[in-house]
Each structure stands twice: as structure tokens, then as C-alpha cells.
Assembly symmetry: C2
Homo-oligomer: 176 residues x 2
DNA sequence: AATAATATGTTATGTTATAACATATTTAAT
DNA sequence: ATTAAATATGTTATAACATAACATATTATT
């Protein structure tokens, strides 16, 4: 089972995450004859600045700064679409936000663990999970094509913080 | 494992679905001292007219007809919020739409099987699935609070239709 | 260098959702 | 029964998310 839950939810050398993600993107684009244009690379870079999913309009604002000119929504959405199609970025529907995929080449569960306190989202693959969903689908005579699995809760950091000092920084990344 | 995949995705006496849903709602509201006002009951009724998730603005339009007067979005969203809080209705984030819950009292997986062809959504509970997600969360030291699990594909009806006559009525309920 | 294909710019608008405040209705308390 | 409190709805405006349609620019192919 692959997972980036450790790095996503805990302190780490994040420059590595960014560089690795950009390297993977360049590789994948070369391999697929897709153009990683400056705009697209910037958007990917911005998305990877943290492990918190970013909304399109947050990206727009930051992309405008990076580019030194104003950027209209379609430009952002196009870049996102490109990255999503290549599997480099996922959309998390319940958040209307986008997150970098840590393993764009591997088989996917599209399973996200989203912290309701700090907003970070970790992704995990899980073969047992896929088997189970497949068998549930079979039972229902449902032809499974794709999936979106979102778990909401507290990451280790935030859980520790809330249980030790009773204080909770609530950024309101709730789902319910 | 509970599931309404048979009834949701296949021909059935749908009046039963509607009546049962309204009965459950009345029970639950009585039990919780919550008021199932005409507006709320109408919205629930409208949501249960089919097994296809309805958007808030579709509900608005239909509610206006039912009520014989124009209805503003907040009225619809308030009714939805009420129903969602009671567990009578689920929001399906990837569709920005709402669907009736067939078993509002039972433990939930919040697992939806959404047909990309006809748009119908069936819900299933699955204890094995819950255990698996719980253990995945444990491994990631993630405190699981709630979840949203969306499967996209083809229901039996639509799969049969597409494979037998090659023709496909595509209403474009796609996710990818 | 001309053509085709791809990518971005630009304007406008569609779609989903909520904030803020006013009014009405229902419930509980006196 | 009357008042007060709580709950629900009406109303206006706007925020937040997303795409359509068409123009221009850039890159790849011939």
C-alpha cells in the first residue's frame, strides 16, 4: 500500500516533495509528448507548495503574482484540466479544490484522508480496498469505472494538538 | 450489507420508495422533535421522485411549482440542510446534487454507486468496507470521523443496453 | 515559409451556494 | 390568553466555482 500520509500530515522536508513532483511531471510529459508549458508548470508548482488542496481562484491569484500579470479563470482551469488528465493532480469534489498526486503512475484507489482541522489531504492506495469495492460492485451488478473516496477526520498532528492542550485551531475544513 | 442498488438501478414500484421515505422521515422527526414542515416535506418528496440526485436549483424550480409561488435559493438550501442533518438526504459532492437516503437510521458507509449513463445513484452499506477504511486510517494515524465514497460506472440496465444494441443514451453524468 | 495543431488571452455568463436582515409562525412560559 | 422566546421562512444581494465562445499567439509539421 502506497501512501503519503506521513509526509502530508507531518513535518518533513517539503522541497523534496515539490522537486519530486516536478520531476515526475517532466518525465510523464516527455513520455506522453505533452507540453509542460510555463503556465502549467507554475500551476503544478503552486499546488505542490503545500499538502492542502487549493481552490481554482486561490491558484488564479497566486499564478497572477508568479506570472507578473493578471490571469483569467479559464487559464487556470485549463492548466488544471491538463494536469488532471495526466493524473498529476486530483480534484477533491467535496472541497472544490485540487491536490498534487504523489504517485501518478501507480494504480489508484483515489483515497484521500482530509484533516478537518488543518485542511491537509493525504492520498493512499490500497489494493484490498479496490478488491472490496470491486466485489461490492459485482454484487450490485455495477460496472465500476472510477471512484472518489474521501475520508474526513483529524491527522496525527491536529489530533495530538487538540487532545493535549484542549485548544483547537479550527480552520473549518469540515464536511458535515 | 444493506443496499438499494436493485431498486435504485432497476424497474420497481417507486411509489413504495416514496411512501416509505416519507414515513421514515415522519418517524424520525417525531422521534427527534424536529418539524417536518410543508416546505421540508415537499423537498424530500421531490428528491424521492427518482433515484437520480437532484441539484438545488432543480429542486427550487419544482418546489416553486408545487408551492404555487416563487421560491428563493435560501429556502431550498435550508430545507436541504435540515434533511441532511437528520440523515434523510445525502449530498453527493461530485455531482453537486442531493439524494434520499434509503436507510437513515443504520450505520453508514456512505457508499454511492453512480451510473454515468442514466445518472441514478444507489447507496450501499458495507461493514467490511468500514473495517478496512478504519484500519487504513489507523495505519496512517488518522482519526476517521466521516466519509464520502463515490463509485462511478454503469448500472445493470445501462450496461445491458449499451452492450446489446451498441447504442448509448449519454446523459453525460460522467466524472472524469 | 506556409499550414496545421496546440495553447493562451479575453469577455461574458452560467451554476452553485451563502450572508445578512426582515417577517412570520410555532412553542413555551407567565 | 398573552407575552416572550425560539424556530422557520421571505427577500435581497452577492460570493464562490466553473465554462462557453471567439480572438490571438505560439509551437510543430510539411
Amino acid at each position: 500500500m502506497l501512501s503519503n500520509s506521513r509526509s502530508a500530515h507531518q513535518p518533513h522536508n517539503h522541497l523534496r516533495c515539490i522537486n519530486a513532483a516536478l520531476d515526475r511531471a517532466r518525465d510523464l510529459c516527455a513520455q506522453k509528448n505533452a507540453r509542460l508549458t510555463p503556465t502549467r508548470e507554475r500551476v503544478l508548482n503552486l499546488i505542490w507548495q503545500s499538502h492542502q488542496p487549493l481552490g481554482a481562484y486561490q491558484l488564479q491569484e497566486q499564478l497572477a503574482k508568479l506570472s507578473g500579470k493578471s490571469i483569467a479563470p479559464p487559464t487556470v482551469y485549463r492548466a488544471i484540466e491538463f494536469l488532471v488528465n495526466l493524473g498529476l493532480v486530483h480534484r477533491i469534489p467535496s472541497l472544490n479544490a485540487f491536490i498534487g498526486c504523489p504517485f501518478p503512475n501507480s494504480a489508484h484507489s483515489n483515497l484521500f484522508m482530509i484533516c478537518q482541522n488543518c485542511g491537509s489531504a493525504a492520498e493512499a492506495t490500497h489494493s484490498g480496498l479496490n478488491d472490496l469495492l470491486q466485489s461490492a460492485s459485482n454484487r450490485a451488478q455495477f460496472i465500476l469505472k472510477s471512484q472518489n473516496l474521501e475520508l474526513f477526520g483529524l491527522c496525527l498532528q491536529c489530533n495530538t494538538a487538540t487532545t493535549t492542550n484542549g485548544e483547537q485551531v479550527n480552520h473549518d475544513y469540515t464536511n458535515d
